[in-house]
């Protein structure tokens, strides 16, 4: 146990060491914003001030697109509509209700949020083109909406005129004051954006982008997370709109065109769709081109369109992807072999008295489960139990329904009939996100490790759904957030140490070798302190050392109290590990029992060495002795 304590402290200190730079960045950011905000006093001329304000507005718009496009993997073309909503709501407030830029910016942000929710709820059901078109269409609707709303409210196609000069807390703002206000608002939002994406929320979003299976298996709802990112991404656009209303004190429908959506997207692509600080560069570049080509908007179109094509092809994997591609070009073989050889060298820890923290294992019972796909029967009345503290192996030939069974247990497929229950609760009617929250963790046949996370973050992500932190606590980095984040990283570190993988923890998870990724996945499934661990062919593709290491860890896990269900092809491993074996064949349970019994079962023998083991008369039992002699 003493070794473990040391490791924990080491884990703590790494996290603590990271806190100081965070303070520095925050302080630095405040200083930078303050300096930019007072540049007019240092002699920045009016024309440049205006360009800086327009760039700041563009920064707000691009950060919104990045949240959706980069972090949620969906394309938001409705930014101009959200921008317009902010502008018109802000303008209306300034004229008719209250002329205060703070109120206007907040109201503008909320108005845009509403547009985000209205378009996101249907559009994100399918995502992809559908969201792009739904959000694009709202932009087409802007002129019609302005026609329909009475002209004395928003000014129809003429535009909204007579917006008063901006005021803050009842005091009129000078042009320098307004400049400073715009910079401060942008600076604050930028910090909010950074804190959202560099957090557990950002990690969750990267997981959501990794395809349909991973997020739900970790208890994360893809739809809800995408909707959150998309809706929150609307807020800065609305804020920008309210600022714009005070800048020109006139708003016309011609400011909110499809062209603007393309500009913002181009800026996002230039900056990198998951970028943070480069957004400022992207926004400034687009603003620069716009000023240059204002008389020949067509040139701007050609330039931005070409940027989208090049960016879409080259930067689809993000800046990180580009870096990795370059690395491959420079040292293709060393890169590959290096990763593989370090993986084999991973030292197995042999302190056999170590015990995982107790895992709350629960009885998993499958009762008479039937599953058909269309007309084909995949499972035909399967019943078995997996007990806590035991390893239950599901074996059987390809296509016998093993993986289908796992997918039913963790809620990917609904049952056609029958029930699956965990302890007292029936889980067979729950969606997979809810099953995961009940404590069912799993791994996949092909490891699913999201792009953009370090190994330790991948492991910690197993924990994301079990401890939710309010978005506001994440944005403000309240102590609560810090505590949760620290403790989950420490736990992840400890698991990695136990698996002998701590040397990889700062490496990008998806760049590791297959065997290591498999072990990382296992570590992730343990991070949630699961009741049930479902392992789908976890040993395939591992070398001998890795398999031994895996077996050791799985014993620890089951000893800690978890219910382990193992789908495995490799009978030798099953025999050495499993307490109970369930043999599936043609979608039904052929037999079940302890491995010693199973390996003597004639029907199993026949199926295991192949469908026609009878042909040559050799049996699996005879083989081990041959090997032992041979060695």
């Amino acid at each position: 146990m003493s070794t473990v304590k040391v490791e924990t402290r080491r884990g703590g200190s790494t996290v603590a060491a990271r806190r100081i730079p965070r303070f520095v960045t925050a302080l630095l950011w405040v200083v930078v914003i303050a300096v930019i905000a007072i540049t007019p006093l240092l002699g920045l001329d009016d024309q440049t001030q205006r360009q800086v304000i327009l760039t700041a507005i563009m920064v707000l718009l691009v950060s919104g697109v990045n949240l959706t496009f980069g972090w949620a993997g969906e394309l938001n073309m409705g930014i101009p509509a959200m921008y317009a909503a902010g502008a018109y709501v802000g303008g209306y407030l300034y004229i008719h209700v209250l002329n205060d830029v703070v109120v206007g910016v907040i109201a503008g942000g909320l108005a845009a949020l509403l547009i985000g929710i209205i378009t996101g709820v249907p559009g994100l059901r399918l995502g992809g083109w559908v969201l792009a078109i739904v959000s694009f269409f709202v932009v087409i609707l802007i002129p019609s909406i302005l026609q329909v709303i009475p002209a004395n409210v928003v000014g129809g196609s003429v535009g909204l005129i007579g917006i008063p000069a901006p005021m803050l807390f009842g005091q009129p703002l000078t042009s320098q004051g307004f400049f400073a206000f715009v910079i401060v608002v942008t600076g604050i939002w930028f910090a909010v954006y950074r804190n959202i994406v560099k957090s557990r929320v950002g990690d969750s979003l990267l997981i959501v982008q990794e395809g349909r299976v991973l997020a739900p298996s970790l208890g994360l709802s893809r739809y809800r997370l995408k909707l959150m990112a998309y809706a929150v991404g609307a807020i800065p656009a609305g804020m920008a709109g309210a600022l714009y209303a005070s800048l020109d004190r006139f708003i016309g429908p011609e400011s909110f065109t499809l062209q603007l959506a393309i500009n913002v997207l181009a800026a996002s692509i230039i900056a990198g769709r998951r970028s943070i600080y480069p957004i400022i560069v992207g926004a400034a570049f687009v603003q620069f081109i716009n000023v240059r080509s204002s008389d020949f908007a067509q040139y701007g179109l050609v330039v931005f369109g070409a940027l989208l094509i090049v960016g879409g092809i080259a930067f689809a994997g993000g800046i990180a992807g580009l870096g990795r591609r370059l690395l491959k070009l420079v040292a293709p073989k060393r890169f590959r072999r290096g990763a593989a050889s370090t993986a084999t060298q991973s030292t197995a820890r042999t302190d056999s008295d170590y015990a995982f923290p107790a895992l709350p294992g629960k009885l998993l019972s499958v009762v008479d489960v039937r599953k058909t796909f269309g007309g084909a029967v995949a499972l035909d009345g399967v019943s078995f139990e997996a007990k806590p503290g035991q390893i239950t192996a599901l074996i059987g030939p390809n296509g016998s329904g093993k993986t289908t069974m796992l997918n039913i247990i963790n809620g990917f497929y609904p049952v056609t009939s029958g029930t699956v229950s965990l302890g007292e609760r029936t889980i067979s009617s729950m969606p997979s996100t809810k099953v995961a929250r009940q404590g069912v963790a799993r791994t996949f046949q092909t490891p699913v490790v999201p792009n953009g996370l370090k190994a330790i973050e991948v492991v910690a992500s197993g924990h994301l759904a079990s401890k939710s932190v309010p978005l506001i606590a994440t944005i403000l980095r309240l102590p609560f957030y810090g505590r949760v984040r620290r403790s989950e990283l420490e736990e992840a570190h400890e698991i990695l140490v136990q698996l002998g993988l701590d040397q990889f923890e700062q490496q990008p998870g998806d760049s590791l070798s297959l065997g290591t990724r498999r072990m990382i996945e296992l570590a992730r499934s343990l991070a949630s302190k699961p009741s049930v661990v479902l392992l789908d062919e976890v040993a395939s593709g591992l070398d001998t050392h890795e398999v031994i290491e895996l077996a050791r860890v799985l014993r620890l896990v089951s000893r800690a109290g978890a219910t382990v269900v193992l789908v495995e092809h490799n009978f030798a491993l099953v025999r050495s590990l499993a307490d109970m074996v369930v043999v599936l064949a043609d979608g039904a349970v052929l037999t079940s029992g302890p491995p010693a019994e199973i390996e003597k079962h004639p029907e199993v023998l026949r199926r295991f060495l192949g469908e026609m083991a009878g042909l040559s008369g050799t049996s699996i039992v005879a083989t081990p002795s041959t090997t032992a002699k041979g060695k």
Binding site: G73, E74, L75, M77, P122, G123, R125, L126, G128, W129, V130, A132, I133, V134, F136, F137, V138, I140, L141, S144, Q147, V148, L258, I262, L265, I269, A297, Q298, Y299, G300, L301, V302, V303, F304, G305, A306, L307, L308, I309, G311, G312, I313, A316, G317
Partner: protein, 285 residues
């Protein structure tokens, strides 16, 4: 009322034609070509130039189809061929291609809307409403092309191969089909088709670079509501959207057409996400 219906069918035929063009590349190359409407507009502009040069009508159509095919093939080479898998990358690159084409057409032919006068337009009286002869041509063209391509897909070797490609790219390759070539041919064919109908569409909408994106979006809605991948769906979706738009403009007021289309689109998204005649196929779109 009848005149409105005719108008609805006329715009609906344009949406149908756009949706059909989307389907061609979708079912063969697996890519929705957002720039397709731009190619149609280029066809319209070619007709404007051809008329100015005094070319005969048949030569104008051939030229428009040729230009369309060249532009679409170039687009495939530049913006589609090297796409990375996943990541919705073709959203970005085909929207990018559409933007480039919008800018390029504006640079070549200018920003203003130009009339395309292939032949004199004298409104006809049919079933108690008035309708332009060109609209009748477009309606017939949409129906014929939709039905024709449906049969092409189901009856010919190439149609079958493209259908197979949409289901399973790798297995199709293993039947000896050069799927890269299939993708080029699909783009070239859809481009030729887009160029060919461009002059007719231009007669109704005028030739103007900035209308392309609106047509592209409405065409997508038609495609989606009908059912992605189905030419029958394109016909139903296209004409349906056109009629709804026309009737909403008639009954509710001139600004309500787009609202009605949007409402129908959202309703279909929520109630029947696979489209009216769609299946699960090509759900990734």
């Amino acid at each position: 009322m009848i005149t409105s219906l005719w108008a609805g069918l006329a715009t609906g035929s344009i949406y149908t034609l756009i949706a059909i063009g989307y389907n061609i590349t979708l079912t063969t190359a697996g890519v929705l070509n957002f720039a397709y409407a731009n190619i149609v507009m280029i066809g319209a502009f070619v007709a404007v130039s051809g008329l100015a040069l005094g070319l005969p009508i048949w030569a104008i159509f051939i030229l428009a189809a040729l230009v369309g095919a060249i532009v679409a093939t170039a687009e495939e080479r530049v913006a589609v061929r090297f796409l990375p898998k996943g990541d919705h990358a073709e959203l970005i690159t085909t929207i990018g291609a559409s933007t480039v084409l919008t800018g390029a057409t504006a640079l070549i032919w200018g920003n203003t809307a130009l009339r395309v006068d292939l032949f004199p337009q004298v409104p006809l009286q049919l079933f108690g409403g008035s309708v332009q002869p060109n609209s009748i041509i477009l309606i017939i063209a949409a129906l014929v092309l939709g039905v024709g391509l449906h049969f092409f897909n189901t009856r010919t070797k190439f149609g079958l191969a493209s259908l197979a490609h949409a289901f399973d790219r790798e297995s199709t390759m293993l039947r000896g089909v050069n799927v890269r070539w299939l993708s080029i041919v699909a783009f070239a064919a859809s481009g030729a088709l887009g160029g060919l109908i461009g002059p007719l569409v231009g007669m109704t909408t005028t030739a103007t670079p900035f209308i392309a994106i609106t047509l592209a979006i409405k065409g997508f809605i038609a495609l989606y509501c009908g059912g992605v991948g189905s030419q029958a769906g394109a016909i139903i979706g296209g004409f349906g959207i056109g009629i709804i738009e026309a009737l909403a403009n008639l009954w509710l007021g001139p600004n309500y057409g787009d609202f009605a289309v949007f409402a129908v689109f959202l309703a279909i998204l929520l109630i029947r996400p696979q489209g009216i005649v769609g299946t699960r196929m090509l759900r990734s779109v």
